[in-house]
Symmetry: C2
Subunit: 144 residues, 2 copies
Amino acid sequence: MKQALTEAKAAGARGEVPVGAIVVDSITRQVIAVAGNETECNHDPTAHAELLALQRACKIKGTPRLPGCDLYVTLEPCPMCATALSFARIRRLYFGAYDPKSGGVDHGPKIFSHAACHHQPEVYGGIQEQECGEILKEFFRDKR
Amino acid sequence: MKQALTEAKAAGARGEVPVGAIVVDSITRQVIAVAGNETECNHDPTAHAELLALQRACKIKGTPRLPGCDLYVTLEPCPMCATALSFARIRRLYFGAYDPKSGGVDHGPKIFSHAACHHQPEVYGGIQEQECGEILKEFFRDKR
């Protein structure tokens, strides 16, 4: 999560919402891919940290599925990213701050709770929750 | 929808699930971007036709939001793509076949129905439904 936080802070410094994600091989514990939000700088509404980290990890592994991998992200994934995690067959999702407004795991559409969701990762929320949430609060406070 | 069907057929010919999408400027009626599924050939679980068409249109327009644009797609979008359509502020969504198994608009998590969904496009489903569904049925019949 420390490395995801580093990515989140780097995203914030670029003027992006400070969220960071990493994909880790669950056996070797090696970090395969890292990413921070890039929606504004790339003019891409889908360029969330989780999606970018998944895309990069899949490219490196040469497969659209990552069954032996875990994803760490500083914020509860939105419904778009949660669905992508399911498609990628991610083993475990570890996230930092809960997102009652835009989250899609424990809030809103609760993506993994539907019968039609073919793969549900194990989910661990609230990891280093305070630090992960604090950089978001700071970012939006400075914006106002 | 005819152009989205052409993209769907091209995707099927590449061995991808035959789904196609286009983004249209609602004022000029000009097609801004087209795409078919590329998940297998690009090793990317997020490379659905809708996501690729949105990403391409945003790149061309130089903005992560497309409020004056409509998206046509041959199949009901999954929850990932439906959420991306909301982020992109797409004006209208026209889709072909309904997808009771993996759809996220009229089925499953029904992405646009949640209070936390900040933008709901106008939705028109079942456009050229039979033709859009038939190419999917043929594809999966041939796979068996």
